[in-house]
Symmetry: C2
Subunit: 338 residues, 2 copies
């Protein structure tokens, strides 16, 4: 079978790869599709070279069909249509013991710390599997992982029906956060400067404004009777968004830190005190977020198709990275892996 | 009767003052004691001149005995021993309507925005009163307001029995936060560089370390089986404490922003994401915090006497400010007002 290999230094090749038979507790999946994630772009840029082993097979937003199951695996059989929650935890650290295995202190993220989905036949631990219902296509199945991220973010933000939610950043995760918050009955405003993303967000039925063209504080106050937003999601990673973030919430409003800010950012801590604001970090997902993402996607109520910009073969991975780097009109690229 | 007046520019005088008869909904209290608060120091420094009216009677950590009640005031009578929750809210803004009147968007803080307690006979709204039990002295009664701040902070930090709490800053509020957290069954570590405050914290039965002499991260991890602190209170206002703050909590640990940081501070937002940390601001108190503070103080289990450095007459207010400014060995100074 074929696989895409990352060799460091923005080098990607596609070549033959020997399938690994599933060991005890493992399954082998015929990978149908795998989405290109922002994390994959970071890997491609070399930012995670300390974690990968060359040549590394990356990819973690996957869907497929079980090919064979290893010893001791119950509840799964060849032919099952599945998606994968790519977290391999130790089960023994304080975080795992405290019930937070998705933030295991020795977490192995499958597709970074071990081989990922960009291959025809992929072998990995069976405990990561979630079943895809028949009415979800395998293309849509490859979106479950990012939708689960959004479900987790919205859950951490405690979004309730009728609330006003602001999403700073309209990339794939930002738009999905907007859609999931909307599914909870929230009024949602997405803030995004990129014209391509703006029109895509509108196509998906989301309210969206460009930060340069709008006085956000005034707008949010106007739309909330002077109170402020109930919840703000920071999904952009931009310093200016961190500045905006603390200005928008109402008294006792919430903020969710979804984006990765590698450097410390100036934060208006006085505003936390003054309005009793709350900021919570949100990382990956828990099993219930995957189940919610699958149920939401299967409900047919989410406009998911506009998220998928195109579907490419394994050979399209490198051009995909290059297109993303060039700032092209790209939301989500799916790679067809078998 | 006598009162202490602030005239701006670090000028304080004591002189005759005509008592104001209580209007409808008001009471007149014979003020027994009033503590000097950090906020009063800010007023004395001129930092709040835009809010005060010269000459201003300040003070808000008070105890006393009701002298007379105004029209329509029920439940209170002359002779009642009381303390005062000095918050005057509008009842009509979004925050008030949402049940958060202690953060009223037009909040008047009595003793800043209207005359305070540093006078013999003080007239103010009756809805601010809390009853003092007989077994609390009026000196101790003047500590209820800062204890209520600590009760609010600990409540916002959701401290539970058996948890590990770190308090950054060992001033009056920091020590009280430590004592209240301890009363919840938490293991408490106070972090404070000042030798006078360190010995006082020890006298009160609190564990305390100097940040310069201790590797805090190592210490907290050692004491929590490698997990990290359950909750961290930032009560110091120091930039270096904000840096420390995000390093200490466990996965899903909490931080409470008690201190006032007038300028934005660099904050490690990556750590929020990585450990799903939570930061919540805490401002003043709600009625239940006053009731809890009174019950705690009356229980006799809190070593409150070491908090009171000395009791001075009204004429001692100016020397008190000067002593605090000079960095003297001072925790809480109480002013005897009548």
């Amino acid at each position: 079978m074929q696989a895409a290999f990352y060799h460091g230094n923005r080098s990607i090749t596609v070549g033959e790869c020997t399938p690994v038979p599933p060991g005890p507790g493992q399954v082998q999946m015929r990978v149908s599709h795998c989405g290109i994630c922002g994390t994959d772009v970071h890997i491609y840029h070399g930012n995670m070279d300390h974690r990968v082993k060359f040549p590394q097979i990356i990819g973690h937003e996957s869907s497929g069909v079980i090919e064979q199951v290893g010893e001791g695996v119950t509840g799964w059989k060849a032919g099952d249509r599945v998606t994968v929650r790519p977290l391999d935890y130790c089960g023994e650290c304080p975080a795992c013991k405290n019930g937070h295995s998705h933030i295991c202190m020795k977490l192995k993220f499958i597709g970074i710390d071990s081989p990922g989905a960009m291959q025809g036949l992929w072998t990995f631990p069976a405990h990561t599997l979630h079943r895809l219902p028949e009415n979800l296509s395998l293309e849509q199945g490859a979106l479950i992982e990012p939708i689960a991220v959004a479900c987790h973010d919205v859950r951490m933000g405690e979004v309730r029906s009728g609330e006003y939610a602001v999403v700073l950043g309209g990339g794939p995760i930002g738009l999905l956060v907007g859609l999931v918050a909307k599914s909870k009955g929230a009024r949602v405003l997405v803030v995004e400067p990129n014209p391509y993303r703006i029109q895509l967000a509108r196509k998906m039925g989301l309210n969206v404004v460009s930060p340069g063209e709008t006085d956000l504080v005034e707008m949010v106050n106007n739309e909330t009777g002077g109170a402020g937003a109930d919840v703000v999601f920071e999904v952009s990673g931009a310093g200016v968004a961190v500045e905006t973030m603390t200005k928008l919430p109402r008294v006792r409003g919430r903020m969710v830190m979804v984006a990765i800010h590698p450097q410390p950012r100036p934060v208006d801590l006085f505003r936390f005190f003054w309005r009793e604001l709350k900021l919570v970090g949100a990382r990956v997902y828990e099993p219930e977020d995957f189940e919610e993402a699958i149920a939401l996607a299967a409900s047919g109520t989410m406009p998911l198709d506009p998220v998928i910009t195109k579907v490419v073969p394994l050979e399209g991975l490198l051009p995909g990275f290059q297109e993303i780097d060039a700032g092209g009109d790209v939301m989500k690229i799916l790679v067809r892996c078998s």
